[in-house]
Each structure stands twice: as structure tokens, then as C-alpha cells.
Subunit: 102 residues, 2 copies
């Protein structure tokens, strides 16, 4: 399997971010071909010592890293990536991981 880990920095307005994320971005992302599972953090993204620097973490599961590449290249993936500019102005990290159980 492969996981796209998305780490969103804390936005200027958390309520605006959440409204856009759940009402606009999630429906766009759910159309991405090859997406097998899509999980999102709820509430504070914490560290063992307290709150983290991140507002929200999303974990998108695909069958393979190749499928993540194909997802980014798809029209639906481009629409989803393009939407980041509408709510994630504080920045986001997208990490593509070839994930295996240990």
C-alpha cells in the first residue's frame, strides 16, 4: 500500500479552514481515482508534550506509490491540489510513503 500524509500548518482562521476543508476540499479529494481510504484528524493534533504545529493531518491510502503519481496526474487530482490555494495559505506538507506493515 501507499499513503499520502498531508500535514496542514495552523491557519489564520481555523473555522474558515475547516469549513472549506470539509465542504469543498474533501468532496474534491474523494473523487481522486485510486483512493482507497481517506482519514482526517479531528481536534488537536498533539505531540506527547502538548499541541503540535499542525492544524490537521490527512491520511490518504492508495494501492501503490504509482497510483499516487497517477492520482496527482489526473484531472481530479489537479483540481484537488489546485484547491489548496483556497484554504491552505499557511502551508501544507504532502508526503508520499510506500507503506508496509512491520
Amino acid at each position: 500500500m501507499a499513503t499520502l500524509v498531508v500535514l496542514y500548518n495552523k491557519p489564520a482562521n481555523a473555522a474558515d479552514f475547516d469549513k472549506h476543508y470539509f465542504n469543498k476540499h474533501v468532496p474534491l479529494a474523494k473523487k481522486i481515482p485510486g483512493l482507497k481510504k481517506y482519514e482526517v484528524s479531528k481536534g488537536t493534533v498533539a505531540t506527547p508534550g502538548g499541541p503540535s504545529d499542525y492544524h490537521l493531518v490527512a491520511l490518504l491510502t492508495f494501492d501503490s506509490v504509482a497510483d499516487i503519481g497517477a492520482a496527482f496526474a489526473s484531472a481530479e487530482g489537479k483540481a484537488t491540489a489546485g484547491d489548496l490555494a483556497n484554504f491552505a495559505q499557511a502551508g501544507a506538507q504532502l508526503l508520499i510513503c510506500d507503506t508496509h506493515p512491520v
Copy 2:
């Protein structure tokens, strides 16, 4: 569910890191009470634009954030956290997320 996302910075010596991680750290972590699933990235942790700043990403799944708290408080969790100093000198971020499907 809840996910502990661990992001390891690039180590000085990747081979030494991997040897310790897979031979010592994974067996310690797998003893942590409440751990339901444990996935690790294989190969480069990438971004859409190229390699990321991270060497390895681990995703540890538990039933709840409370279970992650209990895991850290357990003897096995303390042994696992204590082992970080033996191989993760370059630093690691531990992110505790209350994860929900969307």
C-alpha cells in the same frame, strides 16, 4: 481510531538508522499494549516535487487517543520512547491524531 504519526528526520548514517530501527526499535514498539496496526515507509519519503526532509515515516494505529496515552505510560511504551535516543539523534516528530474516515 487514532494514529501516531512518527516523522524521522534524515539521519547522519541511513544504514545505521535502518539497522537499529528494524532490528531493535520495531520489536520494542510491537510490544506496546493497544497497538492495532504498525506501518512503516519503505524507500524515499517523497513530496510531489521530489525527496522530503524525512528519512522514514511510521504510522501506528490504536483504537483511541486515550489508548495512545496509555501506550506512552506503559513500561513497553517508555522502553520504546527511550530507545529513540539510540538511533533518532537527528530528531523525530510524534503526532497524535484522532483519525476518522471522511
